[in-house]
């Protein structure tokens, strides 16, 4: 701990980013190696879909935790990790969608489009994914600068995205809603912290 306190802010951010890269990338690599080798249970397809979906949701929730934690504990430098974690949420979401397309329905595009329109949970999930694409693209620094004030407005969509993802998860389970309900509680808690901001918008 003593060592940690001596670190400069710049170094703290660096080490945090290294940790974020490791904790995000290594599980993903491990996941696909075991799945390709058929060592991931009887149905590796279901396993990779669930893992990347839940992973994306976890990372999204972490991005929403950063601001309240930074404010509460006066750790302003934490905000510098938000973009990276958000981008990993996007990457996990992308893998989640790709798993569905490539391994679940195996590039049956006709089925893909009919599923999007006929299954509300997939419609909602894909909507969240498209919004995430917009946020990921506009996270590039020079685009961000060019956008000026619009950027913040656009990135406020992260609140909507997390809601859509919570709905997507809840609707996708057959009967055991415990896990999605826990995620709902966390989601609502994190959005509740922003109630002042939402009220201001309504005025």
């Amino acid at each position: 701990m003593a060592l940690k306190l001596k670190l400069k802010t710049k170094d703290k951010v660096l080490w945090l980013k290294v940790a974020i890269h490791l904790f995000s990338l290594l599980p993903l690599i491990n996941l696909y190696i075991t799945a390709f080798n058929d060592q991931l249970g009887a149905d590796p397809v279901e396993a990779v879909i669930h893992f990347t979906g839940v992973g994306a949701f976890n990372l999204l929730l972490i991005t929403l935790m950063i601001t309240p934690i930074a404010q509460r504990f006066k750790l302003g430098y934490l905000l510098k990790t938000r973009r990276l974690i958000g981008l990993y949420a996007f990457l996990y979401g992308l893998f989640h969608l790709f798993n569905f397309l490539a391994f679940e329905i195996q590039f049956d595009l006709h089925l893909f489009f009919s599923e999007i329109f006929e299954r509300p949970y997939i419609t909602v999930g894909l909507a969240a994914m498209l919004l995430l694409v917009a946020l990921a693209v506009t996270s590039i620094s020079f685009i961000k600068r060019k956008m000026g004030k619009t950027w913040q407005n656009l990135h406020n969509l992260s609140y909507l995205i997390v809601l859509l993802v919570a709905i997507h998860f809840y609707w996708s389970v057959k009967s055991d809603v415990t896990e999605p309900l826990i995620y709902w509680v966390v989601t609502v808690f994190l959005l509740r912290l922003r109630i002042g901001k939402f009220k201001a918008w309504l005025k």
């Binding site: 060592q39 893992f51 006929e118």
Partner: protein, 334 residues
């Protein structure tokens, strides 16, 4: 015994995976934890080496070899035994696919009583030994289609339900057959906790029309892959109705009752819009959350297996069973 096999189902047998690879499966899954953080260190080392040090697995349920007539159908590529016994929907032991194998190994199947009652002339009870000895056993290699749009090919061992029904001699009032799973929350954690059991009302109940139950395809299974059933697959005795979605094939049965009226069935009670009484495999009637037009056949080959195949009406058993539903609108009676 007729089993029709469409050509599209014939997969290459050269990609059979060595079964002992699955021994390390649970270690890998356990390591994956929250965002797989645990996997970073864990999987860097050999899972096999780890299994030796951290083997906390309880004793595995003992199955025994059965005597039966073999099914010589060589056309269907069977799902490896390790997958059949590790990927189960048996919510009495938890809702994850791997839960039943993990939680059911201490399940006690002997003594067991299967009671036949209701509208019949010879109500009687089978004891544990009767289950495998009262009728000659035969192997049946059946496709099993889950309502969740995956499927397996499983070599069951059992006897036709019709034989059991004939012995019970249902009277003329009997039109339906109701089945009930054991209710024992001490042994079945899913029954003791609403959370673990997925919110299902227990005991699990199922039903068939009497003529469906009498169809020669309808099997009372006591084994698979030549041995008695492991508990996660419904030991000591379960139903197998191959032309219906898997949830109709009720496990660990203690009661069979002949009725004048259609009995309630578990998934229909839970979500009537999603699961009907008939539950015949039907590519034309979608589940609200899945298309039923195609399915993924679980055999071997990992993530890259090209295993999505068209789902067939009545799961490919139309020749044997379509006549049962001649005057029924199967879109309404799904």
């Amino acid at each position: 015994m007729l089993i029709k096999t469409p050509k599209s189902y014939q997969l290459n047998e050269s990609n059979v995976t060595d079964e002992n690879i699955y021994q390390s499966r649970r270690n890998i899954i356990k390591q994956m934890g929250f965002l797989g953080a645990g996997a970073l260190l864990g999987s860097a080392f050999s899972s096999e080496a780890q299994a030796g040090f951290f083997d906390d697995e309880p004793e595995i349920f003992k199955t025994s070899t059965l005597n039966f007539t073999s099914d010589n159908n060589k056309e269907l590529i069977k799902t490896p035994e390790n997958k059949v016994i590790s990927h189960n929907n048996f919510y009495e032991f938890g809702t994850n696919k791997t839960d039943p194998q993990e939680n059911a190994q201490q399940f006690n199947t002997n003594p067991w009583q299967l009671t036949l009652s209701g509208e019949c002339d010879n109500p009687h009870t089978l004891d544990y030994d009767d289950l495998t000895k009262a009728f000659p056993l035969e192997e049946r290699i059946y496709r099993m289609r889950c309502v969740e749009a995956w499927s397996m090919v499983i070599p069951w061992v059992g006897f036709p339900l019709a034989e059991l029904i004939k012995k019970a001699a249902p009277n003329t009032k009997a039109k339906y057959v109701a089945f009930e799973t054991l209710y024992d929350p001490k042994q079945m954690p899913g029954q003791a906790s609403r959370r673990l059991g997925g919110g299902v009302k227990y005991p699990y109940v199922e039903g068939l029309r009497l003529d469906e139950a009498m169809n020669p395809l309808t099997l009372m299974s006591v084994g698979l892959y030549g041995k008695t059933l492991p508990p996660q697959n419904g030991a000591p005795i379960r139903l197998v109705v191959p032309w219906k979605y898997g949830f109709k094939s009720i496990k660990s049965i203690v009661g069979i009752k002949f009725l004048t009226h259609q009995p309630p069935t578990t998934w229909n009670i839970l979500a009537p819009r999603e699961y009907g009484f008939y539950a015949n495999v039907n590519p034309e009637v979608s589940h609200p959350r899945w298309s039923q037009a195609s399915e993924r056949r679980i055999t071997t080959g990992g993530l890259f297996a090209r295993n999505r195949i068209a789902t067939l009406p009545f799961n490919g058993y139309g020749e044997e069973v379509a006549a049962l539903y001649k005057n029924l609108d199967l879109k309404k009676n799904f």
